[in-house]
């Protein structure tokens, strides 16, 4: 328990590797993938497989509750030159919005 509290406290003061989630929500996603309950790398695999289903310039969202996804989705976007739009906080996880660039 103490460990969890410490981590929460540290995160609050850590310079986030990704910028703080913008308030603006951006365009609604054309497709939302449900990866809730799945551990990384499954959400990333699902995202990579299905991003082709939205047209270039459109937004796809992936919902996940594995905390590793908060790092891995933006990092995947950087590696694959996709555009990470924003991270939406859900009651039980996050929804990551990505714009397909190619």
């Amino acid at each position: 328990m103490g460990l969890k509290r410490r981590r929460a406290g540290r995160e609050a003061s850590t310079k986030a590797p990704l910028e703080a989630p913008p308030v603006s929500t951006g365009p609604a996603p054309l497709l939302t993938i449900d990866a809730l309950g799945r551990k990384c790398p499954i959400p990333i695999i699902m995202l990579a497989e299905r991003i082709g289903e939205v047209p270039v310039g459109q937004v796809i969202a992936v919902q996940a509750d594995d905390v590793a996804a908060r790092t891995d989705v933006p990092a995947w976007c950087r590696m694959k030159s996709q555009d990470f739009v924003w991270e939406e906080t859900l009651p039980c996880g996050w929804s990551f919005h990505i714009r397909r660039t190619y």
Partner: protein
């Protein structure tokens, strides 16, 4: 010598000739966790177990001999670390050295303030001590890192405040090998009159440690010494007070009966190790360069992490997209390679490594290769030969097509 050969003879065969034989040559590539015991340490340890068993605090002959051995070991380690013997104490581990260094400095400087500055990629021993300080009402500022895992000295300087009691920065990162700008940060801390604790666990014996620190911590098993020996150096004129109940051992700095044989072995190992690293370090560094260069060519969707130049000589980390870290470690172990990972599935907390998180790099499919002394080039070649197949098999089994 760190290659183990496991032979499995077919069961029930009374005669090995003509029966199937499985030979797995095991290469240990996890020196960042611990370095195999150096032969010099083993010899010194065995000798000191017989000759240095007595209580070094008593007044009779056996005691004096033990104390002499302990103080000689202290002087030898201090010399390598660039410290004075009377500034140098032995602890029960590197972690204990960090805990005592952090909490003892905060304790002694309470009147200055209760603010602590740490980097986001410190070893868990630093972060756990910071967490305790926070729960105890203290304030902690965590300084982030860039994509290579390196602290920006200016950002670190900006985190210092008039009520800052202590700043902590590792010499090099334990997961990605990036060297930190210790000299620059030490300079800004000196100008602000704030003590700097440098956790040198990963670089002591392997790379020169920049000066300017007020406290230094290290761990003997990382340089081929025995387990159970840490080092805490507290510079003269650094205010420090034990956060633990009073105890007369190690100049009242570290409680408990001194591990004289361990200290003697740690000193022998450090001297031998450092001398060898002067020669072997560049060779290991070239092997790391080979891995850094080849892995992205051999595999799609892989990212080599950490600073390519300002890094430890023996350590390289990379992440393979779409692969579970634990599965990859298990597969590499089956193929005879003992490596480590910062992926969450390999941690008992089920959280990804705070280092990879802070760097903003892929946390799954992570592999840390850290080469012990004497690593054979042939074993690195063999690793590079089997890695692509291992990753491809795991990707295929996860249904990844591209």
């Amino acid at each position: 010598m760190f290659t183990r050969v496991e032979q499995t003879l077919a069961e029930g065969s009374g005669h090995p000739c003509g029966t199937p034989v499985t030979v797995v040559v095991v290469a240990y590539f996890d020196a960042a966790s611990t370095e195999p015991l150096h032969p010099a340490a083993r010899e010194a340890l065995l000798g000191a177990l017989d000759a240095g068993w007595a209580d070094p605090q008593r007044l009779y002959g056996s005691s004096r001999r033990a104390r002499l051995q302990l103080d000689r070991a202290r002087a030898r380690i201090a010399a390598v670390l660039g410290a004075r013997p009377d500034e140098t104490s032995f602890t029960a581990s590197g972690t204990q050295a960090v805990h005592l260094g952090v909490l003892g400095t905060l304790h002694a400087r309470r009147r200055t303030g209760r603010h602590l500055v740490v980097s986001a990629v410190e070893h868990s021993s630093v972060l756990h001590a910071a967490g305790l300080h926070e729960r105890d009402g203290g304030k902690v500022t965590t300084v982030g890192v860039d994509r290579a895992g390196r602290v920006d000295p200016e950002e670190f300087a900006a985190a210092l405040r008039p009520d800052t009691a202590l700043a902590c920065l590792q010499s090099a990162n334990h997961e990605v090998g990036t060297l930190q700008p210790v000299a620059e940060v030490a300079e800004v801390c000196r100008a602000a009159r704030i003590p700097l604790l440098v956790d040198a666990a990963q670089s002591a014996g392997r790379a020169a440690i920049p000066g300017g620190w007020s406290l230094l911590t290290a761990s003997a098993h990382k340089w081929g010494g025995p387990p159970g020996v840490g080092v805490l150096v507290i510079r003269k004129n650094t205010r420090w007070r034990s956060p633990l109940p009073e105890d007369e051992r190690e100049r009242r700095r570290v409680p408990g009966f001194e591990n004289v044989p361990g200290a003697v072995a740690a000193a022998a190992a450090l001297e031998a190790y450092q001398a060898e690293m002067d020669r072997d370090g560049p060779r290991l560094s070239a092997l790391v360069d080979l891995i850094r260069e080849r892995v992205p060519r051999l595999l799609d969707d892989v990212e080599v992490i950490g600073d390519p130049v300002h890094r430890l000589p023996h350590l390289v980390t990379f992440s393979c997209l779409y692969v579970e870290g634990e599965a990859l470690l298990t597969e590499l172990d089956r193929l005879g390679f003992e490596v480590s990972s910062g992926s969450s599935c390999t941690a008992d907390t089920l959280r990804p490594s705070h280092v990879l998180e802070a760097m903003g790099v892929i946390t799954h499919g992570n592999v840390r290769v850290s080469l012990p002394r004497g690593t054979r080039a042939a074993d690195v070649d063999r690793f590079l030969a089997v890695l692509p197949g291992a990753v491809t098999r795991l990707r295929e089994s996860a249904g990844v097509t591209s």
